[in-house]
């Protein structure tokens, strides 16, 4: 499990690379830098960067990572530090290509269209303690929208728990409502249905860690319903 201190150490090292100012912390580890008490319970960090920026500085960035003690896991965009923590590099690419894999320098970087769209929006990337991190509303929507072969339900219950936990934060809810209202009807129905199915994950290994937050998750689902007309 990635501890907060390990994340801080990892982010400090990334800041020391030539792309330090261009990286955005996304995914579960960003919950550490969000105003929520829900623990991320993740094993690694996800860090996103614009494809063009990465392409322009690729060799320098890889050299800097090596200098900072990171080792690239062969054929992947995963980097491990000798002290333990690892991070996955994600690509922020042009909108309209859907979710796809960007091949760059022998690496395959996942590019999630929704994540790229969210990061490109004003005020959806915040600076917290000198680190660029996805805003809580955008983090929640990215988790509700992104499907992975494994851990998909875990993303959903984390997002619902965050909504339940931050129910008193009106600015957060207003932003989330705005993001949800911008989805196409079909995408909104996917979000809504996937969130409902995710409850079954609380009984399986995939999301059992979050069973203690079942009440908050239920509250989060009810709030999600209230944000936009549902089926």
């Amino acid at each position: 499990m990635l501890e907060r201190a390990q994340l801080d150490d990892l982010l400090g090292r990334l800041e020391g690379t030539c792309l330090g100012a261009h990286l955005v912390l996304v995914g579960s580890a960003a919950m550490y830098l969000s105003p929520t008490s829900i623990p991320p319970m993740t094993g690694d960090a996800d860090v996103a960067v614009a494809v063009g920026t990465l392409a322009n500085h690729l060799s320098g960035f890889l050299d800097d990572l090596k200098h900072q003690g990171f080792e690239q896991i062969e054929d992947t965009a995963t980097f491990a530090h000798a002290s333990g923590p690892t991070f996955d590099l994600l690509a922020l690419d042009e909108i309209g290509r859907g979710d796809h894999v960007v091949r760059l320098g022998g690496m395959g970087l996942l590019a999630f269209e929704d994540l790229s769209r969210l990061v490109a929006r004003p005020r959806m990337v915040r600076e917290v303690g000198g680190v660029r991190v996805l805003a809580p509303s955008a983090l929640v929507l990215s988790k509700l929208r992104t499907w992975r072969v494994a851990k998909g339900m875990r993303d959903k219950v984390q997002a619902l728990a965050m909504i339940g936990d931050m129910a008193g934060d009106e600015a957060f809810l207003a932003e989330l409502r705005m993001l949800v209202e911008e989805l196409s009807q079909e995408d909104w129905e996917d979000v809504f249905a996937d969130a409902q199915v995710a409850f079954t994950g609380l009984e399986t290994d995939e999301a059992r860690d979050y069973a203690a937050f079942a009440e908050l998750i239920g509250r989060g689902f009810s709030i999600l319903q209230s944000l936009r007309e549902s089926p």
Binding site: T76, V101, L110, W147, Q196, V197, P231
Partner: protein, 174 residues
């Protein structure tokens, strides 16, 4: 994960998403009936105690009847004589978990609520206060229609084929 593996995984996710959309479209009336319900994950709905049933099931249910609300598969069976899943467990909500000792064995660590393989029946007592909304039947109190659907949603998710059968057996076809 290599780039090729990631591409295959993405393709699989897209196919799964399309499949889920088609299922919602095919069972549109069922989906509309359950879409707004917050699922109840039974083991998390209260403090759960599991006991192997050692006596007569009817006698056990009769003994539980004055203080319990029957839920999930047991409630559906009491309503319609049918169950949807494997197993013949008894599911009941109670304010105080105190089953009749002559009819059950010693409490055990919770067994899977929806057994994949055949196993001996268990009594699942869910201790919670307040008890869930319920209605009276000739055989005892059972959870309300909405609560029962919420229990099935929490256990099987969007298995619309099973959910439509549950609705049918409840006499509440979508």
């Amino acid at each position: 994960m290599s780039a090729a593996s990631q591409e295959r995984a993405l393709e699989r996710v897209l196919k799964e998403r399309q499949c889920r959309r088609l299922e919602r479209e095919a069972y549109a009336s069922v989906y509309r009936r359950v879409a707004r319900l917050v699922p109840v994950v039974l083991p998390l709905a209260g403090e759960v105690h599991a006991f192997p049933i050692e006596g007569d099931v009817d006698a056990l249910m009769e003994a539980l009847r004055p203080t319990c609300v029957f839920g999930f598969e047991t409630a559906l069976q009491m309503r319609s004589g049918r169950r949807m899943l494997n197993g013949s467990d008894v599911h009941a909500y109670t304010r105080v978990a105190a089953p009749p000792p002559s009819l059950v064995g010693a409490e055990v660590a919770a067994s899977p609520l929806v057994p994949v393989l055949p196993r001996r029946p268990y009594l699942f007592l869910v201790s919670r206060d307040p008890l869930p909304p319920s209605v009276e039947t000739s055989r005892g109190r059972v959870v309300s229609d909405d609560w029962m659907l919420r229990e099935y949603l929490g256990a099987i998710g969007h298995r619309f084929d099973l959910l439509s059968a549950v609705l049918h057996h409840m006499g509440a076809d979508a």
